[in-house]
């Protein structure tokens, strides 16, 4: 296989969520001497973008999105250490979790897939994430953004509790806070003092990129 074949196949197999083939092709590409950025930016990310676009249009369904995400994650586990070595700047780091008291994770997982698909490094804390766990993860991973997900009107108040915990830990100004979930609205996000709300996975990616670009422009690193 030529590098072009690898990229084309990698794109196609990611699109249909064939995790074993995606991992094999990733290995094959590396053996051919292809750079990890090439595999990521010229095959995996465009493929996941296409998956996301099809999902948005209603042409793809939840299982298709999940298996494509799983296929990409498998490749990312292989590529991430190599990418770190090359020192390529990541799009951004995103710590994500479903708030305490809430066990819904499908929406959050779809958002994670889209974020990874857009080149973000996503650290998923899972469900039922207590404020102190968010605080600890932010201290450990120094993310650009932290995302709180809630599916219930009764767990949405945890946004405020999380924000208070960040404030108390002196982290509030270091990290962009995004909120989302079925019952969440822009109005509610404003009321609790979050930096941004996004209604769906692709809106999250778009807003996350904008917010990071704005912050990086404002604060010279």
């Amino acid at each position: 296989m030529t590098p072009d074949d690898i990229l084309r196949e990698l794109y196609d197999k990611t699109l249909v969520g064939n995790a074993p083939a995606v991992l094999e092709l990733t290995e094959a590409g590396l053996e051919l001497g292809m750079g990890p950025e090439t595999l990521l930016f010229d095959a995996l990310i465009p493929s996941l973008e296409e998956v996301g676009a099809r999902f948005e249009r209603g042409d793809f369904f939840v299982p298709e999105m999940l298996i494509a995400g799983r296929a990409m994650s498998g490749a990312m586990n292989r590529l991430r250490p190599l990418l770190a070595e090359t020192g390529a700047q990541t799009v951004g780091t995103f710590v994500m979790g479903t708030v305490k008291g809430d066990v819904h994770d499908i929406g959050k997982n779809l958002v994670n897939i889209m974020l990874e698909g857009a080149g973000f490094h996503v650290i998923d804390l899972g469900v039922q994430v207590a404020p102190e766990k968010f605080v600890a993860a932010i201290q450990e991973h120094q993310p650009d953004i932290v995302g709180f997900s809630a599916f219930l009107t009764t767990t949405m108040p945890m946004f405020k509790a999380n924000l208070n915990a960040l404030q108390k830990a002196g982290l509030r100004d270091q990290v962009i806070v995004m909120v989302g979930g079925a019952p969440v609205t822009q109005e509610y996000a404003d009321a609790v003092g979050a930096d941004a709300y996004a209604a769906d996975a692709s809106a999250t990616v778009k807003k996350a990129k904008d917010l990071i670009a704005r912050r990086r422009a404002a604060v010279p690193v």
């Binding site: 369904f61 939840v62 066990v103 499908i106 997982n109 219930l152 009107t153 949405m156 079925a182």
Partner: protein, 288 residues
């Protein structure tokens, strides 16, 4: 075992030897922005329309949820229940995770309500079961705790055992007034959840003989052809022992599947309800 629900004038019995109980689910503003704005402005007219549609579709009980962010949910739920009781004689399932809202709803409700819901968490049981007892209601219980929704049926059944023990022994709730929602999960996110659900429902029936319910739509989340999937899921669950579901009664496919399951299960004796519904459909077709 029979769970008896009542409005001021009507009684509904849930049981393994009874026709399946359809709990109409649409009176819920979650994810409906316009409905939320109306409710926030004190306009409850959309509720009347939703109630009429659920009743026409064949609901036996109505689930009422008024979870609108940034509002006084207790006040809203109490007003909604009073309104619904003035429009229909179906018993009501009072749906909120806010304890004050459940109490406000129970205090204005005429009859014997179904409270939705508690979990296996001690604080939820401690806050809600005394209310259930005081108002003589029945209660839906979910087998999850602070840590997780266990995926293995055996672990869920252990939580059911715990709920049953605590509710009956510590709070004096009659066994027949506990309805377990074994948590139907989306098949699109994990192909194993269908079988696990059926196994849990069977386990609850075999161990405790008590009634069960579920959000019927959960199973098909994220999939195309959701009504068709629901119309398959429900009869399979019924065969495993499911006795009610919170579902959209506006779906003829799902309601039809449930009514057919009643015949097959022997819970629509001699198929009389099935035959009567068939004749009514024919008569309606003949007059148009």
């Amino acid at each position: 075992m029979h769970t008896v629900l009542r409005s001021a004038s009507k009684q509904v019995v849930i049981g393994h030897d009874q026709p399946f109980c359809v709990i109409g689910e649409r009176i819920n503003p979650t994810g409906r922005r316009i409905f939320q704005q109306q409710l926030r402005a004190g306009d409850l007219s959309a509720i009347e329309r939703d109630v009429a549609a659920q009743v026409a579709g064949g609901a036996d009980v109505l689930d009422i949820n008024m979870g609108v962010p940034l509002t006084d949910e207790a006040d809203l739920l109490a007003r909604a229940i009073t309104l619904v009781q003035s429009r229909t004689d179906l018993p009501i399932c009072i749906d909120s995770s806010v304890v004050e809202a459940l109490e406000a709803g129970l205090s204005v409700y005429e009859g014997r309500a179904l409270v939705n819901s508690i979990t296996a968490e001690d604080d939820r049981m401690e806050a809600i079961l005394p209310l259930v007892k005081r108002y003589g209601a029945a209660v839906i219980a979910l087998p999850n705790d602070h840590d997780e929704i266990p995926m293995e049926p055996e672990k869920r059944l252990e939580l059911v055992d715990r709920i049953v023990r605590v509710a009956t022994q510590e709070y004096g709730i009659p066994l027949e007034d506990i309805v377990i929602d074994p948590l139907a999960m989306p098949i699109g996110a994990d192909p194993a959840v269908g079988q696990a659900f059926f196994e849990t429902v069977r386990g609850i029936r075999d161990r405790h003989g008590i009634n069960t319910t579920c959000g019927a739509g959960n199973n098909s989340f994220g999939m195309p052809g959701r009504d068709q999937l629901g119309a398959s899921f429900l009869p399979m669950a019924i065969a495993s022992g499911l006795t009610s579901a919170i579902m959209d009664a506006r779906s003829p496919l799902m309601v039809g599947a449930v009514k057919a399951a009643d015949v097959v299960m022997g819970n629509d004796e001699w198929g009389m309800a099935w035959i009567a519904a068939y004749r009514a459909t024919q008569a309606a077709a003949a007059t148009t």
